[in-house]
């Protein structure tokens, strides 16, 4: 005799409704079934509290309706917001989200890939740094901010355009001595183009500029000595700074304040990302805002596209400027 505690299966429903197994299956897959049969099955299912077993279904159909999201972390509000929007976009399509965090560690990234492959996800959205991540080419993959081989689509903000926009804004707001600050992993990604766009605009306008780049995230403090070295009579050699991230901007702003400089009167700062404080919703700084919602929606859309023969290899989404108090406007 069946255990009382076992969760009911289609077989149980079929027996309860007095129909064949195949009929029950058809009901739950919305295939043509006579109306009276359908009702009988649905009622029997309700009586028994039947729930589809998606593991059995996934095994049979090779479709799991699940997507994995691989992120460095979600303490970073930009990533958190991205995850939030992706989760919603997936839920709207009846997909579920498997979340994997890597702390930017290449080993962890590779383990995540292995995990999701074993879990037969229908696709992966990944924001990774491993230079040569090994992923089964049959697994639909959308990369955020990093180009792999041309076959796997990469979705990113228009970093180049954002860099240009930052330079343009600073110049419009009266800056004459521009500085670009960048920090981050040595792995080349799309976000490098922020600096390229910035430089390109400056060159085009014949405006001199300086670039300082640090590779180790901990070395953020080393910018302090750089700034100190460029102080003269209580004035900084630069009056407009573009930082590659809002994160960096916040730290630089603090350093500048420590040096006795007023923002935005003495120096104007523009960041990149568009992170907002939770409670008040305010920007931490003037910034180039990434369209997080569209980023998320685009990833999901491309990932779940039926026809996977003609995928774009790179999609750039438009960014915008927003004043957050570290510029004059």
């Amino acid at each position: 005799m069946k255990q009382k505690g076992n969760t009911p299966t289609m077989k149980d429903v079929a027996q309860e409704a007095g129909v064949a197994l195949g009929t029950v299956s058809k009901v739950f897959n919305n295939l043509p079934v006579g109306e009276s049969y359908r009702r009988r099955v649905e009622e029997a299912a309700r009586r028994l509290g039947y729930q589809v077993n998606s593991y059995a279904r996934g095994l049979k159909t090779n479709k799991t309706c699940s997507v994995a999201l691989i992120l460095p972390d979600i303490a970073n509000p930009f990533f958190a917001s991205l995850a939030q929007h992706i989760c919603q976009a997936l839920a709207a399509r009846d997909y579920k989200l498997i979340l994997a965090l890597t702390a930017s560690d290449p080993g962890a990234e590779q383990r995540c890939i292995q995990m999701v492959q074993q879990n037969k996800v229908d696709g992966v959205i990944g924001l990774t740094y491993h230079p040569e991540l090994e992923v089964d080419p049959r697994l639909p993959y959308v990369s955020i901010d990093r180009k792999f081989n041309p076959g796997t689509p990469c979705v990113s903000s228009d970093n180049f355009g954002g860099g240009q926009l930052a330079a343009q804004k600073l110049l419009e707001l009266g800056c004459e001595h521009l500085l670009f600050l960048r920090i981050g992993s040595p792995v080349p990604g799309e976000s490098d183009k922020r600096g390229d766009g910035f430089e390109s605009y400056c060159r085009q306008k014949n405006v001199p500029y300086t670039v300082v780049r640090k590779y180790d995230r901990e070395g953020i403090e080393s910018f302090r000595s750089f700034l100190e070295a460029h102080m003269e009579n209580g004035r900084l050699d630069f009056d407009g700074i573009f930082c590659a991230t809002d994160f960096l901007t916040c730290h630089i702003a603090e350093m500048l304040a420590d040096l006795g400089l007023r923002i935005p009167e003495d120096v104007q700062l523009i960041g990149f990302d568009g992170i907002r404080a939770f409670a008040t919703g305010q920007l931490y700084c003037s910034t180039i805002v990434q369209p997080v919602g569209r980023l998320a929606e685009t990833c999901v859309e491309i990932l779940l596209q039926e026809d996977r023969s003609n995928l774009p290899s790179l999609i750039c989404l438009p960014v915008s400027y927003a004043c957050g108090g570290t510029t004059k406007e």
Copy 2:
């Protein structure tokens, strides 16, 4: 003939290694197998790039090594941090995380429960508001901050103690006219005890206090008129305010500033949660800090406990006070 593109199965590995199917299974489950057999199988698996199909395994064993986390959202940094820690605690145990977001909507919460039941997760960690969520009692469930029936364990911070601590601190810092502000869903949860603790401490010390409670999150602005009504000659009737969340504290602080009051000189504020700004890591306000890491670890530990016969019905984790600039110390 087998399709070239199909992912290899145990059968393929068995054939490649020249052993029986059962032997391959034993190798991957670390059951006793002769050393030479083991090597043959492992090599064959490597050659073929074999990966366990966790759907087949899950179907057979009724164990999926996955846990669902149901949260209102992860834009709230407190939830994000919680999710982050839970994800790590699960990964350390080789479990994967299915993330479901509800926007605090009871309907969405119920749908999430249904989804996770169909996905045969091994357990659920839920932070929900639905007053009578229907969840299969056989499904291991740990609730955060809300008591269901006594059978399902609830993990929360020591809200009562935190409320007491807030009152104690405000009094120690010289406050004489205390106010408690609260906003939130009408569903009773553990976090209601913040106010209880606060009131209890005040009564015990014979200190008069005022309580204002609003139920709708949008009504946060209604506190403004309350504060205005309690202004007299540029001074507020209260000099110490305990807000039920950091979120609320930030908004109240802004309103007070609008009224021309200095913080902490004129009014001192204490919040609850311990949210930190991303870039700088600073607290938004003085606050009672919830032990997010321990909260997460505890949830996972209890959820994955082998022996589920003697589960605690409520676990309170200790909180601490931290100055974040809205108190004198």
